[in-house]
Amino acid sequence: MNTVLTWSITTAQILLVLAMACAAFRILWGPRAQDRVVGFDSLYLNAMLLLLTFGIRLGSSIYFEAALIIALLGFVGTTALAKFLLRGEVIE
């Protein structure tokens, strides 16, 4: 039964890496700046889910804390980028 778990974790990681590749394509070839910001938002979210699957694979809770920090700081980064696109400066 644990081979089922191992193979499903590997499959989930491959799917998440493909999703990260799609988001990286949108970052690199986005027509405008807001497309790149949406791609960045999707990229950090997929990286956070990939860290959760690494935590399940290794059975340690250190990856959970890394995923929580990515979730917190990614929100701050995307909001700062959106505010910059909106006003031209981050802190008014």
Partner: protein, 112 residues
Amino acid sequence: MNQAVAVPAWASMITAILLIAGAGITLIGTLGLLRLRTFYERVHAPTLGTTLGTGCIVMASMIYFSALGSRPILHELLILLFITVTTPITLMILVRAALSRDTFESKKPVSE
């Protein structure tokens, strides 16, 4: 994978199903980022990954670690709560920025 020996069979089956479902849903949402044509359509697509994909993978992690430690471990709910709260705020500010940029460049706001 020597920790996974202690996990019962039902927990690993549920974890496997939830992991593949969550990763597949996230991939579908991110493929929408490639396929859709205008920005205002593309901004909807990754929210499939932020709600249902994150929910499935967080549920899988909670069930696995609860079965591994034989006590309920619920701290992954923090990630789910935080992602669910912050994604609409971010995307609303981003769409407002895109609208102001489009009207500033005197384009029609909905068609790119």
